[in-house]
Symmetry: C2
Subunit: 306 residues, 2 copies
């Protein structure tokens, strides 16, 4: 990894979080502890379930309870029993709370405005574009790709979303049974593998490998949720699949795909998959690809260093 890259990230961390964090902490200051303000902000106009708040802010249950009590004492928040589970509670802003929330919101806006205000118009555009890029990249860097059990609920949800998307994109719809989808246990060791990509804990993509003849693996169910595309997740998953392939005893990987899935085809071509003759009777497939895989020592070094 490039050392100048590392030091640039460190410099960014030091300077930007100091400048933005300092001001950010300041604008929230309303004579109220920071945690309370954040909580008020997080509850928002529509209210929020207590358990949701606890997760979003990563707070201890007792501590959160106390914070809510404090806001309640100030008349900013009212807690009501949840309709469907009378143990659960929901925090709502009172009229006064909504007003206070508005003040915080306006402060946050004023801060952003003051930041941009002292820039020339051309610089503003550049700053905003660069900020969006940093945000996108950090999002990408927080995606985790791991082997998971193909029978778990998140895997099932991904498969489901994948099938629904195929049905929407293919002219004639899509039926998994006709496509020859076997049991998902095909994607479990020792003869297969399933990868899930997670962003903030939520599953946003999947990719699987199953046996398909002596020494041959087949890539199946390569999918990334629409809102998580453009983050390089598919690329990372395909690289990860190839890493696993040799361990599973595959020296060749193949796959089928459909002409409507142009991004997928581009992905395979970019990664050195060559188009081959039809090798199965999947009625939805009209393109078939193959690639010889070998354990790459360079890639292993990179992994070891991170």
């Amino acid at each position: 990894m490039d050392e100048t890259h590392v030091s640039q990230v460190r410099s960014f961390n030091r300077h930007v979080t100091r400048r933005i964090g300092a001001l950010g902490g300041d604008y929230l200051g309303r004579g109220r502890p920071l945690a309370e303000s954040r909580l008020l902000f997080e509850i928002g106009a529509g209210g929020a379930d207590v358990r949701e708040l606890r997760e979003r802010l990563a707070l201890d249950s007792g501590y959160l309870s106390r914070l809510l009590r404090a806001l309640e004492a100030d008349g900013l928040v009212a807690c009501v029993q949840s309709a469907d589970d009378r143990r659960a509670r929901r925090a709502m802003l009172t009229r006064k709370g909504v007003r206070e929330h508005g003040v915080l919101d306006r402060r946050s806006q004023a801060f952003a405005r003051s930041l941009l205000g002292s820039l020339l118009p051309a610089q503003r555009g550049r700053l905003v574009a660069a900020m969006a890029e940093v945000e996108r990249c950090l999002r990408a860097s927080s995606v985790e790709i791991d082997v998971e059990d193909p029978c778990n609920t998140d895997a099932a949800a991904c498969f489901d979303a994948y099938f629904r998307e195929l049905a929407a994109r293919f002219d004639r719809g899509f039926d998994p049974v006709q496509a020859g989808a076997g049991s998902v246990t095909e994607y479990a060791p020792p003869h297969g593998v399933l990868l899930l990509a997670r962003l903030d804990g939520q599953a946003v993509g999947c990719a699987a490998l199953r046996a398909s003849g002596r020494g041959i693996g087949e890539i199946k169910r390569m999918w990334v949720a629409a809102h998580a595309r453009g983050l390089g997740i598919a690329q990372r998953m395909i690289e990860a699949l190839e890493q696993h392939a040799t361990g599973l005893g595959f020296h060749r990987l193949r796959l089928d795909t459909h002409h409507a899935l142009t991004e997928a085809r581009a992905l395979y071509v970019r990664n050195g998959y060559r188009e081959i003759e039809r090798y199965n009777d999947n009625p939805y497939a009209d393109h078939w690809f193959e690639k010889r895989v070998v354990r790459r020592s360079g890639a292993r070094r990179e992994v070891a260093r991170t």
Copy 2:
């Protein structure tokens, strides 16, 4: 100001500071309170004056004293009397402190590495470039340009640096007296104005206006420190001068410059200054410019909104 810009800045603030700040706080954790670790980091290998630390970290004098005492008790820091002022003290790292500082430094590096590690190589380059851009823009946005007394020491330092730079860049050197430099009080109200640009409190640029005939102002001493160039400071100063011009009763601004100062000439041309005939006998000048100035209502609205 564009509202989508404002909301992008807010989104950046929320997401990036949370992600980077959270991890940043974490890696510093060494069983030691965060403030102590930050202090250790800030003292650095070369040591630092206590007053300097107080300013950089914006800490209460008493609190800082206590933190230093704590680090001293752990054998990480030693405080010595300053040589030139026996009231002042200087904090130095002990051998053990240097070791600990190294650990923190390595952690910070490891964090940056882990951030980059889960990105594809192409993304890394993009992230780093965008980070550098954000940093630069934020630096630019923290530059403050204000009217100051032309007799104060920072102004004098700027003039001095300006003259030294001219001397270095002109073939025949530069002598302010020959150039017709009068008293700096010419740049004070009611007939003139001096602007200083400050970055983190330090003066990094100047620009002045003085009377030069009925209704005519002259731009003088337009200078930006080498390390603060490329931040749009000169552009902002020239805009600010033009704002002040009408208030001082000038409807025309003129200036002279030297062919070696190519950036300056480009700046004037870009801002609508037209080249005119020689209007003075400054032996160092070989280009003369002029611009008619009017109070721009659009610009005023922009200022009012920030």
